[in-house]
């Protein structure tokens, strides 16, 4: 009994933290059903303005197209980033070369350069290639991130080298070892990497905004940004747009939640 009593402050604390985290989400959902004026009055009760908010959201904005472009960009980024970064991370750990660590240092240093510094040369590069407004121009600069390479390198470290040796003895080619032995074992790492890449790609704003010159190709974050650019902001419709834009990341996170945690804590025990 006493031990249970001792748990009370812990649960009280956790409940408060949980409320604080859920609060803004709840406000977002509720506000999507309220009028702009009710949102400004911080109404916490559901309203009846959902349909009207949807109408004013779709009156000026093509939500379907923005969701489509966001999905294409995020899926393409996630698939390519997982392939490229996992091969790189695996290679960094499994193969031995004297310059390997130096190269890793260069990659780590690259993490410290702010994107704003490389944006203009990058734009020039893509403009010269005639790739302005293309999904590939959005995706290419973000598929090889040092963070993902590091994540895969760390998980490759826990991958028993004996398995690789054994597979080589049995005559498996190097790529097949990666594809048939490493990839299936590292599924949780892939799931974790997929979640963070998808979220980052989905929320990516500055680069898509610059390279997608034609706003017919705009993504959801750009659509939401448009909402805050006018003289009169319709907060109800804005909240509905934010809610719609959050759904895919929420779904992906819940589907891959269990693997997400395992992917960071280590797969092979």
């Amino acid at each position: 009994m006493t031990s249970k009593l001792r748990e009370v402050p812990k649960y009280a604390f956790l409940s408060i933290v949980a409320l604080l985290s859920v609060g803004p989400l709840y406000f977002m959902v509720v506000s999507a059903t309220n009028t702009s004026q009710d949102v400004l009055a911080s109404s916490m009760l559901p309203g009846t303005n959902l349909l009207a908010n949807w109408q004013s959201l779709t009156e000026f904005q093509d939500v379907g197209a923005a969701m489509y472009h966001s999905t294409v960009n995020a899926v393409l980024t996630t698939v390519l980033a997982l392939v490229v970064s996992s091969i790189a991370g695996y290679g960094f750990e499994v193969y031995h070369s004297p310059n390997k660590d130096r190269l890793m240092w260069v990659l780590m240093l690259a993490m410290m350069i702010p994107f704003a510094a490389t944006m203009i040369p990058l734009f020039q590069l893509f403009a010269d290639l005639g790739m302005v407004n293309s999904a590939f121009a959005v995706v290419l600069p973000v598929i090889a991130t040092p963070l993902l390479i590091l994540l895969f390198r760390q998980s490759a470290r826990s991958f028993p080298h004996e398995i690789i040796e054994a597979a080589r003895m049995d005559g498996l080619k190097e790529f097949s070892i990666f594809w048939k032995m490493f990839v299936p074992t590292m599924r949780p790492t892939y799931a974790a990497a997929a979640v963070i890449t998808f979220m980052a790609a989905w929320n990516n704003f500055l680069w898509p905004k610059v390279i997608l010159v034609n706003s017919d190709y705009q993504t959801m974050p750009m659509l939401i940004s448009n909402f805050t650019g006018g003289y009169v902001i319709d907060y109800g419709a804005l909240m509905l747009a934010v809610l719609i834009a959050s759904l895919p990341t929420i779904v992906i996170f819940f589907v891959l939640q269990r693997s997400f945690v395992a992917g960071f804590t280590g797969v092979v025990k």
Binding site: L40, M119, A127, N133, S215, D216, Q218, G229, Y231, I233
Partner: protein, 439 residues
């Protein structure tokens, strides 16, 4: 078998990826040809425009397109929605990477940022001084924003004329009327404000802490700017600025001016009825009118004048924007479109005033009867006719290339002064910050 399946999966991914890229880049070539054809060539019949705010600027563009189509049936406007911040980022990127081919024909530009962009990135613009646009049909204070070295680079659109919008019901509760606030000075305003606060418990004004909008409106109403005619910063030794800051601090200390933390809170303080009035560009009337339950309870008058300053007026401006013709434009068509619509169509302004509350800068439009129609939301007052008469009296504001730097520096100085710092020292720091940025 397994190998085959793997291969097929990879191939499918690759095809998927390539087809997506192909379809997107295919679109981009369409866009490039639809954009601009460069000067010297025969006039096309399509223009691309970058602008923000579908309910205001873009709506006005769509109406302008209709007006122009009456004489040019084949004409089309490709309107790209880009928020102002994004538009500035795009312009900076294009200018620095010298990729002028991606520019639209026409873009909208904040008046306060116009000179900065023309001076820093002249290659983005086309000089339209001799375009046939009748610049003398706009107030000089407004064309000044888009004029650099005597050359015109913009057609003024949105006025940003400042109004003093007041809740007449709250004033009544304090035993006052709109007339008591008309043609007064800030000292008188503060005395009346104390009366309102005492009787109703509501402050007069609200604004974002650290943002100098209110002070800069006071400054401009007194005929002064943060820069002199040569473009040198005049943050120190500026009697009008010092007087405006004093008035502002006095109001905050007395509880007449409610400082809030964000734009959303500012709008909330107005529509939730937490303040008795607001002073801002006329475009604020759009936000005010979202509070449908307050219909009939608002009135509009002019601004108080800054005490003890020569040339102080009751008129000012905040915000506003103008159309710029890019260096990548079908110049002849763009100029003809702008002269026939925003600088030449009463019909256009007659439509967009009731439709979006877009008040014309173009003087001939003011003669239209639409402007003298009573506005139900403002208790039957013909506020747009009043706004036009205010607009004629707004002193010009010299923005220069470093307006935003100066504005930020003054904002920081005001925060320090409100925190108890010596005004002269804080403004001296602001002055040297701007001078440093300019060197």
């Amino acid at each position: 078998m397994k190998k085959l399946r793997t291969g097929m999966a990879l191939a499918a991914t690759a095809t998927f990826a390539l087809s997506l890229a192909a379809c997107s880049s295919g679109g981009s070539t369409d866009d490039a040809s639809g954009g601009a054809s460069g000067d010297g060539e025969a006039m096309g019949n399509s223009l691309t425009v970058w602008a923000w705010d579908p309910a205001f600027n873009i709506y006005a563009l769509q109406e302008a397109e209709k007006v122009y189509q009456a004489d040019h049936p084949d004409f089309t406007l490709d309107i790209q929605e880009v928020t102002w911040e994004d538009l500035q980022t795009k312009l900076t990127t294009l200018a620095q990477s010298q990729e002028f081919g991606e520019l639209p024909d026409i873009f909208l530009m904040q008046n306060n940022a116009f000179q900065k962009n023309v001076i820093n990135y002249p290659d983005l613009f086309t000089d339209i001084t001799d375009s046939g646009v009748a610049f003398d049909e706009f107030p000089e204070g407004v064309t000044a924003y888009s004029t650099v070295d005597g050359m015109n680079y913009g057609v003024p659109f949105d006025a940003g004329t400042a109004i003093n919008a007041m809740r007449t019901d709250i004033l009544e509760e304090a035993g006052l009327t709109l007339d008591d606030f008309t043609d007064i000075t800030w000292d008188e305003y503060i005395a009346l404000g104390e009366q309102v606060l005492e009787k109703t418990g509501k402050p007069m004004l609200s604004g974002i802490a650290g943002e100098p909008d209110t002070i800069l409106m006071m400054l401009q109403s007194a005929g002064q700017s943060l820069f002199d005619d040569q473009g040198n910063p005049t943050i120190t030794d500026n009697a009008a600025l010092a007087a405006s800051i004093d008035l502002y601090s006095e109001m905050v200390e007395k509880g007449i001016y409610l400082e809030v933390n964000s734009w959303d809170e500012y709008i909330a303080s107005i529509v939730n009825g937490n303040v008795a009035s607001t002073i801002n560009g006329v475009w604020i009337s759009g936000s005010i009118q979202t509070a449908e339950d307050q219909s009939g309870l608002w009135g509009v008058t002019d601004l108080p004048a800054v005490d003890g300053i020569d040339g102080a007026t009751h008129y000012s401006a905040n915000g506003g924007s103008s159309w710029a013709v890019s260096s990548n434009a079908d110049v002849a068509l763009a100029e003809d479109f702008l002269s026939a619509t925003f600088a030449g169509s009463t019909e256009l302004y007659d439509t967009i005033l009731p439709g979006a509350g877009a008040v014309a800068n173009w003087l001939p439009a003011g003669d239209s009867e639409v402007y003298s129609e009573p506005q139900e939301f403002f208790g039957g007052q013909a506020i747009y006719a009043d706004v036009l008469s205010f607009a004629a009296g707004v002193p010009a504001n010299n923005t220069g290339a470093y307006y935003y730097e100066a504005r930020d520096a003054v904002g920081a100085a005001i925060t320090q002064i409100m925190g108890g710092a010596d005004p002269a020292t804080a403004l001296g720091e602001a002055q040297s910050t701007v001078e440093f940025a300019m060197n």
